[in-house]
């Protein structure tokens, strides 16, 4: 159990601070996207309250953009909800992976609550900082991390809806690369430690590149994650836990 020598015994406030710090790149990635969502939703005819409620209760960027487009196109509520389900189905797989890591460390009620803040980005950040689950106040670390993401998403949505296009177009377009850079910034250090992770990631990229041509984005992403990670069964070693 050499790997479990991690425990550094952070105090409550240190755990919260660390969670906030690790959450900052998440917020930098979310805010421009949330601002854009706010602007588009407002232009689509949603009231500030409606567009804010959608961020509060749905909290899933891609599906919120999709819904706004579908509302503008006059598509029925049932179709919008089904499309959202398909697009967000990947959260099931992501959550299953994370909850399997948390099962022996974070109590059921806390981890169930945390899943409500699960997005592609918060999942990626927490999966690659999973050692924190072994901290005495690991729950506080993850709660702080998730809240930074959640509040920046809501704040950005409201600001976009109220203020309109506050960021010049060229800058907001440039900021569109932020979430991809966040994913790269998480993947590269992991790959430096273990090349096998690169193989899994590249397989999933190729699968998604191909599937994207044939099926909707939601199905393409969830199938490439499930199939790509399947290769992990053959190339990863069992982790002592």
């Amino acid at each position: 159990m050499e790997e479990s020598s991690y425990q550094t015994m952070l105090s409550r406030s240190q755990s919260v601070q660390k969670g906030v710090k690790i959450g900052i790149p998440l917020a930098i990635g979310y805010v421009p996207v949330a601002l854009t969502y706010g602007v588009l939703a407002q232009q689509a005819g949603l009231s500030i309250i409606e567009l804010t409620l959608m961020s509060v209760f749905v909290f899933a960027g891609a599906s919120q953009f999709m819904a706004v487009n579908m509302i503008v196109a006059g598509i029925s509520a049932v179709e919008i909800i089904i499309a959202t389900f398909v697009l967000n189905l990947r959260h099931f797989v992501l959550s299953l992976s994370l909850m399997n890591e948390f099962r022996n460390h974070i109590p059921l009620k806390s981890r169930a609550a945390l899943t409500l803040g699960l997005t592609d980005e918060s999942f990626a950040v927490s999966a690659l900082n999973k050692e924190e689950r072994e901290e005495k106040h690991g729950v506080l670390f993850f709660t702080a991390l998730y809240l930074v993401g959640y509040l920046s998403w809501i704040g950005g949505s409201v600001a976009g809806g109220v203020l309109g296009e506050v960021i010049p177009h060229q800058l907001s377009q440039s900021m569109g690369v932020a979430l991809y850079a966040l994913f790269i910034g998480l993947l590269v250090p992991a790959v430096k430690k273990e090349m096998k992770f690169a193989i899994i990631a590249i397989i999933a990229m190729l699968l998604n590149g191909v599937l994207d041509q044939f099926v909707s984005e939601g199905w393409a992403i969830v199938s490439s994650i499930v199939l790509g990670s399947f290769f992990g069964i053959f190339i990863l070693k069992d982790e002592a836990s």
Binding site: L46, F59, H91, F92, S229
Partner: protein
């Protein structure tokens, strides 16, 4: 009407998120399932990066690729994720000037 859409979207998004928290209490997974689940973050990162990164600037896929390349380099030399993100934003900003 919008409220109905929001409630429906919230439910179909929340259920897949929360169910696994309870599932892992009910089942003990075989070791191959554990290895599969351990690989998911890396597969997810791959699928989330590509081909989406090509769409950073609508009609010009190389802008996103170059931004991604800058992120790879900054991350490879060991910079904190915050600087990786800001460096990539700066790169795309200058490339599209």
């Amino acid at each position: 009407m919008i409220i109905v859409i929001i409630i429906g979207m919230a439910l179909v998004t929340m259920i897949p998120r929360i169910v696994p928290a309870f599932l892992v209490n009910k089942f003990v997974f075989h070791s191959w399932v554990n290895r599969w689940l351990q690989a998911i973050p890396y597969a997810a990162l791959g699928a989330l990066i590509f081909p989406g990164i090509l769409t950073v600037k609508g009609e010009d896929p190389k802008i996103g690729l170059l931004g991604g390349l800058v992120a790879i380099i900054l991350s490879y030399i060991g910079l904190n994720v915050v600087f990786v993100v800001m460096g990539a934003i700066a790169a795309v900003y200058f490339l599209t000037m």
